[in-house]
Amino acid sequence: MSTKEQKKRIELLQGTLDLLILRTLRLGPAHGHAVAKAIEFNSDEVLQVEQGSLYPALHRLIKRGWISVEGGTSENNRRAKFYRLTTKGRRQLAVETGKWEKLAGAIARILRPAAHEGKS
């Protein structure tokens, strides 16, 4: 029973991380470290991702064909892999974003009346 619940939570987190990666790559190809930094920076450092967990997520997205990988050099002239959003990934991002907004909306609708109650 407890393991099942745990799994669901992990999946939710994974899904969220995937969404964030896709969103970040929409601005243009980037290498792993830059993606991590971008997520951290763009979320005003609220979302502290353990940077390592980025890699399984990146590979998962490659496997699904949502992002592609190519060789290149980073800003400081290092050899680095660049990750790029594919067309399929772009479409997926739209879908995922829509889903996420729906979910967020739903949660907000559930939470708001509760907040009213709290006030009154």
């Binding site: 470290h33 940077q51 390592g52 967990s53 890699y55 590979h59 400081n76 680095a80």
Partner: protein
């Protein structure tokens, strides 16, 4: 390079780069290099885990884990080869025995017959009151064929032997006479050439023959030129019309097939002679019941038209498969059940061993749990190990099965129908694989679940070698179940053994020892006329009698207990008062004058035949005691007359003892009347037909290998083209007549022995383990003054208690299950299903085995030196 490999190739480099970049940034922010690196590492997380998880994205994780489990399992088992070997061997025996029996069941019962739409094929028999299946007469068959609408095709056949004299060396061949629709009914086409046409299937049609693939290879070197050539059968030329497909077989092996209508007109022209068998293919949509209804109407019409021949005859339609498989199907299912029990016992043993082993591994499991292995993961590991064992056992088991099946064929060459379709084939492989998998999971699950429950704290704290007490209650339960199951098998085997013993004690009515029977194909040059045949046989027998070692010799058309049949109607006096079907029937032996003496059948009254009984003297018969008692009551039959249908009214000259022709256990309900006729007195027209059926019986104290070369010499001396074949001792025929009981008896005995062995190993293992566990307790007892004898008795008592509980449960189960044996009416003879002698002796046997198995550990316990044992602990 696979995508997976390409993607993962630079992973470690990527991670290193990532961390370096982060470190660089940290340094730029003003941290010292060490602090910068530490912060980067902290932020990144566990490098190894990240790498592992990333790799996992590209692999099917369960396969990797499975491979891991397997390799770990192999290592664990190799560390303990004795343990693994005992388990694998136990399972090999269990799975092997099951696979062997399954391959037989599959070949005989389950596999469809090798003809298109085989379930539409039926046998069409006649029947009369008290006789359920009766061959039909050819004229009746032709009327059926004309009138019945339920069948797409209908055909007739009868087996016949031929002597082939050209091309090649003379040889006896088994063959069939078939009507022209035979192959079409079965849905088989010749591999070469063509089937008979109705034009050949006529009394004076062109002699034509279809030959088997085997004969075609042997005699024509597989040449296509064989078609149209002629072969010489029984002195007559037949043109080869076609060659049958390889492996074609119907009911019996046959090499030549000739048109039935060209056969013996005496046999096939007479409505009262039932010499052929009908087969038919049901029309689509017609059920057996509908066909049976129509056929009885057709037969009723024949009854009206030909009352003298057909009054009281009915028809009996039997699905072909049921006809072929017969009683063996039930016996085989019984054996499948028995062998399943052996497997259960084997599994119980293995489960027991695994329980002991898992107890020894408690510490290992505790450590693994402490290191974070989940319970499911550990159960999976243990199951992988047990399935690994089972699979290894299964592979060995396949070899055991192959060996077992070939041993069975060697012991029972003729006892199984459809033997040609038995073998280790794909379905059998699937069965062996499936059963191994199921067994591996079944016996592995309980120990796996039990040991994964282990209390980490306790086992780690205890700090000893990890040998905690195994699961004594599960172990005893397993031993009790084994004992009970073994008793059930022993009961089955015991009852059949008693049956065979009783059958062997039955007096067959003649002396079965020192008799050899064989057939001789007389040279066609000697068999041109009836009188030359009579002379040829007389001379042949005279030559055989002169062979040193031959005490007596003569021939008979049917050999007792060989299933050969030659029944026909008779009536007392000369006046036929009823129809042929209502007249009493008797089994006819056509023999020579020395037959009685050769078989040592007792002469009760009057005399037997002499050479003076010839076609020119008064026709005489000898009757058996049953016929004398039934039809002559208080009168002396000698001197009275009996009319033999198709022959003469003959004088009864003697009464002889009854011969158990239909089997030693025969209750005497089918055709118990026996009439002997001198072969030499048969009418000229019948002589050739009966001559073909004759077997020579020789009484000699010498064995087959010694006497037969000399006998063959004198036979060949009289003509090189005279094959001697079908050489069998009477003892062999007797054994074969008991194969219905002997096959299940031998197999059940083997299974019971196997079960006994496994169960004794089981009880030995458990008791001996328990003694090891209780060494300290025993030492304390002895230190406190317990006698060696008391310790000994305590251990034996522990084993005996399990054995007795098992016995009681087993006896209860056996009493129910042995009823199954009686439901197969042909299996038991002379003993009841709950025969107290059998049950008492097997219970005693099992108890003794249990005590013996406990003896060694008990003695070890009694020899414990308390000082040594206590100091050691």
């Amino acid at each position: 390079m696979t995508r997976r490999k390409r993607m993962l190739e630079d992973l470690n480099q990527d991670i290193r780069d990532h961390i370096e970049t982060e470190t660089q940034e940290n340094v730029e922010r003003g941290l010292s290099p060490e602090e910068a690196h530490c912060a980067a590492m902290r932020k990144f997380g566990n490098v190894t885990r990240v790498a592992e998880e990333t790799r996992a994205v590209w692999s099917s994780i369960w396969i990797e884990q499975l491979l891991q489990d397997v390799s770990y399992g192999v290592r664990a088992l190799r560390k303990n080869p004795g343990f693994a070997m005992v388990i694998v061997l136990t399972l090999a025996l269990g799975i092997g025995a099951n696979t062997a029996i399954f391959s037989v069941v599959r070949g005989v019962v389950l596999a469809p017959l090798p003809y298109p739409q085989p379930d539409r094929l039926v046998m069409v028999w006649e029947n009369r009151p008290n006789v359920k299946t009766l061959s039909t007469s050819y004229p009746d068959f032709l009327d059926w064929q004309r009138n019945a609408r339920s069948f797409g095709q209908m055909a007739a056949l009868t087996s016949r032997s031929y002597d082939l004299t050209s091309p090649g060396t003379p040889q006896h061949l088994d063959g069939m006479e078939i009507s022209s629709g035979f192959l079409a009914t079965l849905g088989v086409k010749p591999a070469m050439g063509h089937d008979f046409t109705p034009a050949e299937d006529l009394p004076h049609g062109t002699p034509a023959v279809l030959i088997s693939d085997r004969l075609w290879r042997d005699r024509f070197a597989s040449s296509p030129q064989a078609l149209g050539q002629s072969i010489l059968l029984d002195g007559a030329e037949y043109t080869v019309l076609g060659v049958l497909p390889p492996g074609f077989r119907f009911l019996a092996d046959a090499d030549v097939y000739t048109p039935l209508a060209q056969g013996e007109p005496l046999l096939y022209g007479d409505r009262t002679i039932h010499a052929i068998v009908g087969i038919a293919r049901l029309k689509p949509g017609v059920s057996i019941g509908e066909a049976a209804g129509e056929m009885s109407a057709v037969q009723e019409n024949l009854d009206r038209l030909y009352p003298a021949a057909d009054r009281n005859l009915g028809t009996n339609i039997v699905p072909l498969k049921q006809e072929i498989v017969g009683d063996v199907g039930g016996t085989l299912r019984l054996l499948l059940g028995a062998v399943g029990i052996v497997l259960l016992i084997a599994c119980a043993n293995v489960a027991n061993l695994l329980l002991v082993r898992s107890a020894a591994r408690t510490r290992e499991f505790a450590i693994r749990t402490a290191l974070g292995a989940s319970r499911g993961r550990m159960v999976r590991q243990l199951l992988t190990e047990s399935v690994l064992l089972a699979m290894t056992g299964g592979v060995l088991g396949l070899m055991v099965a192959k060996l077992g099946v070939s041993l069975m064929f060697a012991e029972f060459p003729q006892s199984l129908p459809r033997a040609e379709s038995i073998g280790v084939n794909l379905p059998v492989l699937f069965f062996a694989f499936g059963i191994s998998l199921v067994v591996g999971i079944a016996f592995g699950l309980v120990p796996a679940l039990k040991s994964s429950h282990a209390d980490v704290q306790a086992s780690l704290k205890s700090g000893d070698r990890g040998t905690t007490r195994a699961h004594p209650r599960s172990q005893s339960a397993l031993v009790i179940v084994q004992m009970a199951l073994t008793l059930v098998l022993l009961a089955g085997a015991g009852l059949l053994l008693r049956t065979i013993g009783d059958l062997r004690k039955v007096d067959p009515g003649f002396n079965t020892r020192h008799v050899i029977t064989f057939k001789v194909g007389l040279s066609p040059s000697l068999t041109k006329t009836a009188s030359s045949i009579r002379i040829a046989y007389q001379q042949l027998l005279d030559r055989i009698r002169q062979v040193p070692g031959v005490q007596a010799a003569d021939f008979t058309n049917i050999v007792p207990l060989s299933e050969e049949d030659n029944g026909g109607p008779f009536w007392v006096g000369s006046q036929q008062s009823t129809s042929m079907q209502e007249a009493p029937h008797a089994l006819y032996f056509e023999t020579g004058p020395d037959y009685l003496q050769t078989m040592e059948i007792p002469l009760l009254r009057g005399r037997f035949f002499t050479p003076a009984d010839t076609p020119d003297s008064e026709p005489v018969v000898v009757i058996n005691s049953v016929l004398a008692r039934t039809y002559f009551r208080d009168q002396d039959p000698v001197g009275q007359t009996i009319t033999v249908a198709h022959w003469h009214t003959a004088r009864v000259i003697g009464v002889v003892g009854n011969v158990k022709h239909w089997g030693l256990g025969d209750p005497g309900t089918y055709n118990p009347n026996q009439i002997y006729i001198s072969f030499y007195q048969l009418s000229d027209e019948w002589i050739p037909a009966f001559a073909r059926a004759l077997s020579v019986a020789v009484r000699t104290p010498l064995d087959v290998a010694t006497i037969m070369p000399a006998v063959k010499n004198v036979v060949y001396g009289a003509g090189k083209d005279q094959p001697v074949y079908n050489v069998r001792t009477m003892q062999e025929i007797v054994s074969e007549s008991m194969s219905t009981q002997r096959l299940p008896m031998v197999l059940l005995a083997v299974f019971a022995a196997l079960a006994l062995l496994l169960a004794s190993v089981g009880i030995y293992g458990v008791i001996s383990y328990s003694v090891t566990q209780r060494l300290r307790e025993i030492a304390v007892r002895m230190a406190l003054g317990a006698e060696k004898r008391q310790v000994f008795q305590m251990v034996i008592g522990q084993g005996l208690r399990m054995a007795v509980v098992g016995l009681v449960l087993g006896a209860a189960a056996a009493l129910i299950l042995t009823r199954l044996l009686t439901s197969f009416s042909h299996l038991l003879y002379g003993v009841g299903a709950s025969d107290p002698v059998t049950f008492a002796s097997i219970s005693l046997m099992l108890t003794v085995v249990a005590v013996v198995a406990c003896y060694i550990p008990a003695r070890r316990a009694a020899r414990v030196d308390p000082m040594v044992a206590l100091r050691y602990e």
